[in-house]
Subunit: 252 residues, 4 copies
């Protein structure tokens, strides 16, 4: 993955301790909110070096501390891994950052309520204002289309590119028989989106069951744009709560 | 929202510390019971000044303390906010208090089991005696009907008025693609109703799935009136439990 | 309910402290397992005086201690209440004990997964061996049939009698738009049945959804009898776990 | 079960303390993950003596410590039980070890999301890569087919043999109106499979509801083989998390 013959990429510079703490906290928040379990990961683009990003070494999200965070270039090669093992699927992150200069953070997860929407024809829709970012549409990436039978993992540059292409300009992409990816203009908004994609999925399951085939009166695209804009400000209220809960539990 | 050119409304007088503690506890109870998450709010009409109400500054409900509570007039202008930020949707509360002199407390939430009933034709019904207050019917407010495409928030007087109009004389109103509002003759009964609206929603989802299109044998209106009257007394048992849990956790 | 003109019934004798502790623990176990919330109750027939039973004063089940337990005669009149308030629905217990000499304990609850089965034509069935006691059939009591529109509560002798009649020789009876009652030959087995009625309901909801109208391959009556007999012994394993959890939490 | 006239089988040798601790931890992990409740069990083949296995005495899984672990021969006769009671269904374990030399650990459970798949015609499928081990197919064992009406328990050698036969070369077998069995080449992988069988079941319930009768785009067999191979390595990340949680809670 990072052959010894290639020198490790140069660091974009140290991250401020508060940012490292926030990124580690984001990982634990996603675990506490049921978005990730033993698997899944969150990354953050380097604020001062847009061609670098930070994410945890290969570790269960609930266990991540600031010391576990590694820096990568956008080809997902680690700058400072030493003997620490990287996530096989870090290419998801690198390729989304490459394709989407507006994206500052990425979450990859397999939350149980979300996975079903990658397995059926029914489309995920924005069921309530908190999930307004979904109203623009939620594409589904089927790795089989371009790569045939695989181990289902986005474990190299080509697969990451294909995924980023399916994501396009949206905020969330589903992955068939696997999970999903959420992204956004800040770490806080991206965590918010990952959490409310999961909540929205739960709502849509019940709504679809009640509707018995009739359309659901979710947000239309215009409402989605208007509500998402408010969420990007008001969403910090949720981040503040979750961040405080991690602080109370982990002490940082 | 509260332009500097308009003087802040005069306070209706300080609330007793026990009442402030109860209102803050109500906020945490709603979080603990899964009715609110990082969002949602509960308010209480000033018992001595019916044209004033109290609710938290803009803050996640699980974090609210008595010190975060602000007083508002019924136009939802804060009496004593200082530099503390108000909830955008406080107009829900003010306008319900204006339209409904019998209402002493209001809860606004987006609980995942309830949202689906604002997205489909199926009506929420009273599935069991604890939710008797629903047997009178649960109207759905669609902000789009009068205001077209919006950010979905009830963020001004006009929208609050329209919502209160749809609520009418009922105890709960659903908001399309958003959430719901519960109200009642006391803080305790209102919290009870917010909680059991959520529980009832869960029951109705499963009941509807089992019924496969046949009617559900929930409470009829007469049973609803009779059972609700008992609940308003017996419901204190639930409040006492929830209040004790907040006391054990937060110490007040 | 217990008019002053009628002398309180004479006690059947003090209960051993271990039994009082077990009955209070049963109350907390049911709360911890999600069978009861702020409402619901468990009682135990007096082992030495079959025409007396013990249950908590009117109190949320998670808060019950041995000191809250009161003794009743089978007309559900308290022997030793003093100024402590009794549950309105204690008649459920007294009338089941009257009608069923084999029953040594009774649980009344409104668990959300169970209520739906009282609202539809679909019958609750025994989905797995732990719920073998359901294979004999689960009748539904509709208070409306004999009493018309009511507050839905079994709040007097006549209503209790009618409920006990619908229960017949079974172990569980559903109450339309209300909840259910479980009973058994010991406190431990009755708690086991109340818990596994709830678990079974969850399983049946999902099984029914998958089956799409086809029959479910649950236990037949003969399998039910055979498996229930084993459960009455093996079930103590669950009680030992739950009892240990109460002990760890409450210290008794 | 182990008649006094038959001498107890000879031990295959003591297990290393770390292995005993891991096996006891596995039991608690399964409880913490909702795979087992008061019932269910996990066993491990003796690494140095393939005709011996270790599992807990009859005890709720959440309470198991290393001191509760007993050694059995493959006829499920205890080597060292003393007066400690064995699980009635240990024959599941012994007979799977006999029939499947590749299997090093076995879990038996009745998790509520899984049981429905043993009651209907719909087949459990692999909904996402973590459950790749299901893509080879999940057979259903109906004890009634060979043994008629029973207590539903696999409580002797013949029933264990029949179950192992239905399992065949697969990793998971469902048991009608009872539960399931998962197995694998290590304790860690087997626990992983038991947990993700439960998670997969939850995903499939929702996916099936959304699909309304259309096929689900889960993993095909080839994808299943490829993904499972990765999981057997990456799965240790989940084990490390769960093991750390037991360590934090129980101190070992």
């Amino acid at each position: 993955m990072n052959p010894v013959s290639v020198p490790a990429p140069i660091s974009g510079g140290a991250l401020a301790p508060e940012l490292l703490a926030d990124l580690a906290a984001a990982s634990r928040i996603l675990a506490a909110q049921g978005v990730v379990d033993g698997f899944g990961h969150v990354s953050m683009r380097h604020p001062a070096a847009p061609n670098r990003y930070w994410m945890s070494r290969s570790l269960a999200p609930a266990l991540v501390t600031a010391d576990d965070l590694l820096e990568y270039d956008l080809d997902s090669q680690p700058c400072n891994a030493g003997d620490r093992k990287s996530f096989l699927e870090r290419y998801i992150h690198g390729e989304v950052y490459k394709a989407r200069p507006d994206v500052m953070a990425v979450v990859h997860s397999h939350s149980p309520s979300v996975v079903p929407f990658g397995l059926v024809r029914a489309k995920m829709q924005a069921m309530f204002h908190n999930a307004a970012f979904l109203a623009a549409g939620v594409p589904v990436f089927d790795i089989r289309d371009r790569f045939g039978a695989t181990d289902m993992l986005v474990g190299n540059t080509e697969k990451g590119e294909a995924l980023a292409e399916t994501l396009g300009t949206k905020d969330v992409v589903l992955m068939r028989a696997h999970g999903s990816v959420a992204c956004g203009p800040s770490l806080q908004t991206t965590v918010f989106r990952a959490v409310y994609t999961e909540v929205n999925a739960r709502i849509q399951h019940w709504a679809a069951a009640l509707a018995a085939g009739e359309p659901l009166a979710g947000l239309d695209e215009e409402e989605g744009v208007l509500a998402d804009s408010v969420n990007q400000g008001a969403g910090v209220r949720a981040w503040d709560l979750w961040r405080a809960q991690v602080r109370a539990q982990a002490g940082w």
